[in-house]
């Protein structure tokens, strides 16, 4: 008996030690680059290019941030990013929720085939359509505008999101919808006033993830935008590097400012996002 208790305690201690050792090593790998990024953003021009490398500068230069935002039209480009990612995310939430609702609730002929098509398109590598989508948008006269970056979100909004929301709608009780229908509410009204409010956590998860992915999209803006004043932040940052090759402090300052909105958004919506993420992946 004594021996047994002893072994259990010993193994509990070793496992805690292993947990901490691996976690600390892994966290260092994640955190050190971020600390280095913040440190570099605060370095003077000469401290950036000095050896040995300092992680955090002795005299932080907070003025780097304002200078970085003047070297490129930073705020203008941030506003562009807000517009593109915001309009895109709203469209994604609305149009994918509509399709998902039809798939989950309105079982009519042909719905199975639609669902199969949607599952298959999840596996379709989007970049394959890069060239031909470009030709189509150019033909429509949308080259140089935000339309190619926004309109597709309003028409479907990504098959993965449709799939996620369908799974979520299936978990909702039908009674409320039926009651609303009996009270004479039409399908649109039922959808907007009864179904969507119940699905708020899943909608928030889809919206946040879609906003962040559009905020960070590089290839789309790279292909469709050609004026510096129209650039979104990722394009602006990449162009920044092309001009000021060794100005790492300003580059890191601008990059840091550009990721802040997403981090804040995540922290605000963290619970929903993690839950939505879990729903997507555990119910296949």
């Amino acid at each position: 008996m004594m021996l047994r208790t002893h072994t259990i305690r010993a193994s509990a201690n070793t496992s805690t030690a292993v947990v901490w050792a691996v976690s600390l090593a892994g966290s260092a790998f994640i955190i050190l680059p971020i600390v280095f990024m913040v440190g570099t953003a605060l370095k003077s021009d000469s401290a950036v290019l000095s050896v040995p490398v300092q992680l955090i500068p002795g005299e932080p230069k907070f003025s780097n941030f304002s200078k970085a935002t003047q070297l490129i039209p930073f705020w203008r480009q941030m506003a562009n990013s807000v517009l593109v990612a915001g309009m895109g995310a709203i469209g994604t939430v609305l149009s994918s929720a509509m399709a998902a609702y039809a798939l989950a609730r309105l079982r009519v002929r042909g719905m199975r085939a639609v669902f199969t098509i949607i599952l298959v398109t999840i596996l379709l590598p989007s970049q394959v359509l890069l060239v031909s989508q470009f030709l189509i948008f150019k033909g429509l006269g949308w080259y140089g505008t935000y339309l190619p970056l926004i309109v597709p979100s309003w028409l479907g909004g990504g098959t993965f999101n449709i799939f996620l929301l369908r799974q979520y709608f299936l978990t909702l009780p039908r009674e409320l919808e039926q009651a609303a229908m009996l009270d004479g509410a039409g399908p649109l009204r039922t959808f907007f006033q009864v179904v969507l409010p119940q699905a708020a956590p899943a909608l928030a998860a889809v919206g946040v993830l879609d906003f962040v992915s559009k905020w960070n999209d590089f290839l789309g803006p790279l292909i469709y935008l050609n004026e510096t004043s129209d650039y979104t932040l990722p394009l602006g940052l990449a162009a920044f590097r092309g001009i000021y090759d060794t100005a790492w402090n300003y580059l890191m300052a601008a990059s840091l400012l550009s990721v802040l909105p997403c981090v804040v958004l995540f922290l605000v919506a963290q619970r929903w996002v993690v839950r939505g993420f879990a729903v997507t992946t555990t119910k296949g």
């Binding site: 496992s15 805690t16 947990v19 691996v22 976690s23 892994g26 966290s27 994640i30 955190i31 050190l32 680059p33 280095f36 990024m37 290019l49 000095s50 490398v53 509509m98 399709a99 609702y101 039809a102 798939l103 309105l106 009519v108 398109t121 596996l123 590598p125 970049q127 394959v128 359509l129 890069l130 031909s132 989508q133 470009f134 030709l135 189509i136 597709p152 028409l155 479907g156 299936l170 009996l182 399908p187 962040v212 960070n216 999209d217 292909i223 990722p234 940052l237 990449a238 590097r241 790492w248 580059l251 890191m252 840091l256 997403c262 995540f266 993420f277 879990a278 992946t281 555990t282 296949g284």
Partner: protein, 318 residues
Amino acid sequence: MVRQSQAAKLSGGRRDPLRRRNQLVAWGFLSPWALGFVLFVLGPMVLSLVVSFTDYPILRPAQTRFVGLENYETAWNDDLLRHSLAVTLLYTAIAVPADLVVGLVLALIMNVRARGVAVFRTVFFLPIMISGTGGASVAVALLWAFVFQPRFGLLNAVLRFVNLPPQLWVASTKQVVPSLALMSLWSVGRSMLVYLAGLQALPGEVMLAAQVDGASSWRRFWQITLPLLTPMVLFNLILGLIGALQTFTQAYVITQGGPRDASLFYLIYLYRNAFTYLDMGYASAMAWILFALTLALTLLIFRTARKWVFYAAEPPER
């Protein structure tokens, strides 16, 4: 109204006006998706297939002509295309398994009930907050470009600190692909989260029974936990594969495909053909080749998945 709908349910007739109305409502809800699917997925797929059989210099569209399989023949004999495919596959072969294994190990550890674990989970999730679930962003690529910088970068500073020789990282033709794979591990939190969701859905009674029967934790992992997690492994494998084959941003921003084409990923080469050389026909053929390759690999994985993915008996959903 009520009686009518009940009657419709009972008779189940096809020509019922209510049923017609339902059909209309359903397609109404689906119409934005259907329009988008035709305009932005199906249309482009057909178009790119057609364009891939032509010589289409986009600046002189009048000179467009049908060339049959010529673009595919050119691709077959294009050494640079072959090279870009090799680069992409090498990267995939390193980055995807690394992500699968490290993500799983981290998830197992983050699933232990110990002090501080919640903090570590947030730390591993930080890169996802910064760059999203879609792989590297420009900001992250710029950060790592400086982390890899041989003279002033973080990695060599760490190596010097522990008395190891500094490396060239992305500036070396041999190290650039493994370096980018190392960078991809920074976002391992995505697959970790998928495994964690799976771990938390594990049936507790099974684990407890095994523990009571005296199965060692090692044995419990190989015989119970891992088999129950195989659906998550499959999910991460497929997503990781599709993502890795489409690697673009980090290579474009950090190395521009260099040094000496050593990180010329397939999509970088495709981009060059389409938007630098403006050869839309050849680029479309390249897109279809990548599509075929991705499809073949995905199908191969699904085929073998029947043998190694374990699906617990669940009541049917519908």
